[in-house]
């Protein structure tokens, strides 16, 4: 079996989930299978320096595009799939992957399963486990080959970082492909951390949808102040405009690893867990006992968060006043 593992990187850095795709491919296969890493981006160095755990690397340098559009990435991947004729293509669940996986599935007609956490060989098929309903249910699926899987970041351990042997590198210049694209990159915004950088915060109090409304965020902010913590929000809270984007934790926000992460009214969708599950101490409060946040929490409570915050703030203040 031949497996193409898609990898990504930009601004001189390889996305860590790229190494997870290599590991997932190794785990899905059997001895003698071939794992081909695919990379497309402006600079190839991060891929060449790190993806040596794959048997080969097919890399396309995307000329001047500092961030390659999914349209161009998908086109280059299609060319690679046509040439390599793999049995399985692994695409990371990322902003890029969301456009790339379905594009390939629509053009090849191959089956696609998204949000995959586990991959097992089952004769000439695969059995995979994927997350649905915001991680509240797991779906075991049977997948005929060839197939495409969109794999959750964090589901597999990273493959070892080592450099690619020059004899195993196949490099092409994709400047023309990027220039032909209908999706033209006109700007990249990198967030300014002048006010706050959650990735370096040691303590974070994060509010989720359960906080209810904008005014209630002040209640959580009060507790954050007492704890010396930064206030943060999950995607629905930031989307509602209750907190600025730089304070968003999760897939499309910041990936954080504080010493203390207190989650108030956060359900813990897979996209949120991706951004905080490696925190040292996770305390979660949510009235839904089946909320997936409890799967990563060290301490969980199902009481009303407002009653708790009021009571806890009082206790902490009294303690610090002594």
């Amino acid at each position: 079996m031949r497996i193409v593992a898609c990898t990504e990187g930009s601004f001189g850095k390889l996305e860590p989930f790229s190494l997870e795709m290599i590991a997932a491919a190794r785990g899905a296969g059997v001895a003698g299978d071939e794992v081909v890493a695919f990379f497309a981006g402006q600079e190839l160095e991060p891929a060449i320096a790190n993806l040596g755990a794959a048997d080969r690397l097919v890399a396309a340098s995307a000329g001047n595009a500092e961030l390659i559009a999914a349209e161009s990435y998908a086109r280059l991947l299609r060319d690679t799939v046509a040439a390599e004729e793999p049995d399985l293509v692994l695409v990371p669940y990322s902003a890029n992957g969301l456009d790339v996986a379905g594009d390939l599935a629509a053009r090849t007609g191959w089956p696609l399963v998204s949000y995959v956490n586990e991959i097992r060989r089952d004769g000439d098929r695969l059995t995979v486990v994927a997350q649905v309903y915001g991680g509240k249910i797991l779906a075991e699926c049977s997948v005929p080959l060839p197939a495409i899987l969109m794999v959750n970041p964090g589901a597999f351990a990273e493959a070892e970082r080592r450099s690619v042997d020059p004899s195993k590198l196949q490099h092409s210049d994709a400047t023309a492909v990027v220039a032909e694209g209908k999706v033209r990159l006109v700007g990249v915004d990198v967030p300014s951390y002048d006010s706050v950088d959650l990735t370096t915060a040691e303590r974070i109090v994060c509010v989720g949808r359960g906080i209810g409304d904008e005014a209630s965020i002040d209640i959580a902010r009060g507790l954050a102040d007492i704890l010396g913590a930064e206030i943060a929000g999950s995607r629905p809270v930031v989307d509602s405009g209750w907190l600025p984007k730089v304070r968003q934790v999760g897939k499309s926000g910041q990936k954080v690893k504080p010493k203390l992460y207190l989650a108030l009214g956060v359900s813990g969708a897979p996209e949120h867990l991706e951004g905080m599950s490696k925190s040292d101490l996770i305390i979660a409060v949510n009235t839904d006992p089946k909320a997936p946040i409890f799967n990563v929490a060290h301490f969980g409570a199902t009481c009303d968060l407002f009653d708790l915050v009021a009571n806890l703030s009082e206790r902490l203040q009294a303690a610090s006043g002594r």
């Binding site: 559009a69 999914a70 902003a95 969301l98 456009d99 996986a101 379905g102 594009d103 599935a105 629509a106 053009r107 007609g109 089956p111 696609l112 995979v128 649905v132 309903y133 509240k136 249910i137 797991l138 779906a139 075991e140 699926c141 049977s142 005929p144 969109m150 999706v183 033209r184 990159l185 006109v186 700007g187 990249v188 915004d189 303590r203 704890l227 010396g228 405009g241 984007k245 897939k251 499309s252 010493k259 359900s267 305390i283 009235t287 409890f294 799967n295 990563v296 060290h298 301490f299 969980g300 409570a301 199902t302 009653d307 708790l308 009571n311 806890l312 206790r315 303690a319 610090s320 002594r322």
Partner: protein, 254 residues
């Protein structure tokens, strides 16, 4: 400009989800169905574009409660409402409905198809790349801002880590909205009552057109992976325990 916006009705994931006796589906009997959150943002973005540059907005809904949500869409500013027939009453697979959306985009002569970037049921792939590819139109998933510059569409896409890329795309195109440029608006009861008189069109479902697909063998509830301690549901007890845990770990009294 004509905008087709797709509204999918999905089970409320915040509620209790129970499996059917064969273990292959979720019990839909007592479920609450609601508009997919990302689709709600797609609808808002469609209305914002209409207000900014002028457009006709066709809202297409699929799933339980479609008529109700279509009336809401009209009350918010959609010009036309179409209920798309669903195959069976199970999961709304984006892979399966893509061909129906493509047929509607063509028959309505849409320049822009907007839908939510994902739904909680799009296990077998997302609607945006399927519809975009089948139409032969460019597609971008995960937008947080849309605008028209001259004759081109400007899309800001969330790339993770807070990085946002802005693209310019000639129409027609398919865009998967993650967040509307402004939070979805509320509508008054009087507007809703007014909209309830709107005629709702019907569209048949088209065959999916894919020969081979993955299939669900079994659904299951995730086991409790964490070894976390449950502090219970009494706020006073929880606060007392947390205060001592935080103090013990050096987080209190700082």
């Amino acid at each position: 400009m004509k905008i087709l916006v797709v509204l999918r009705m999905i089970p409320d994931s915040a509620g209790e989800l129970e499996l059917t006796s064969d273990g292959r589906g979720i019990d839909r009997e007592w479920l609450d169905f609601q508009l997919n959150d990302f689709d709600d943002h797609a609808l808002e973005e469609a209305i914002l574009l209409k207000e900014a540059v002028g457009a006709t907005v066709v809202a297409v809904a699929i799933g339980e409660g479609s008529n109700r949500v279509l009336q809401m869409a009209v009350a918010r500013g959609a010009d036309e409402a179409v209920a798309l027939e669903a195959e069976g009453d199970g999961i709304i697979e984006s892979r399966a409905i893509a061909s129906s959306i493509v047929a509607l985009a063509r028959s309505k002569a849409a320049d822009l198809v907007l839908c939510g970037v994902q739904s909680t049921e799009d296990l077998f792939g997302q609607l945006v790349p399927y519809a975009g590819t089948l139409l032969g139109w460019p597609h971008v998933s995960g937008s947080s801002r849309l605008g028209i510059e001259g004759s081109a569409l400007r899309v800001t896409q969330e790339r993770g880590g807070g990085i946002a890329a802005t693209y310019e795309i000639a129409l027609p195109a398919v865009i998967g909205v993650q967040t509307a440029s402004k939070a979805p608006r509320y509508v008054s009861g009087s507007k809703l009552r007014e909209a309830s008189k709107t005629a709702i069109g019907k569209a048949p479902s088209e065959p999916a057109g894919f020969e081979r697909s993955a299939e669900i063998v079994a659904l299951r509830l995730p086991g409790q992976r964490g070894t976390g301690e449950n502090l219970g549901d009494n706020p006073e007890n929880v606060a007392e325990r947390l205060a001592s845990i935080l103090a013990a770990k050096g987080f209190a009294g700082v």
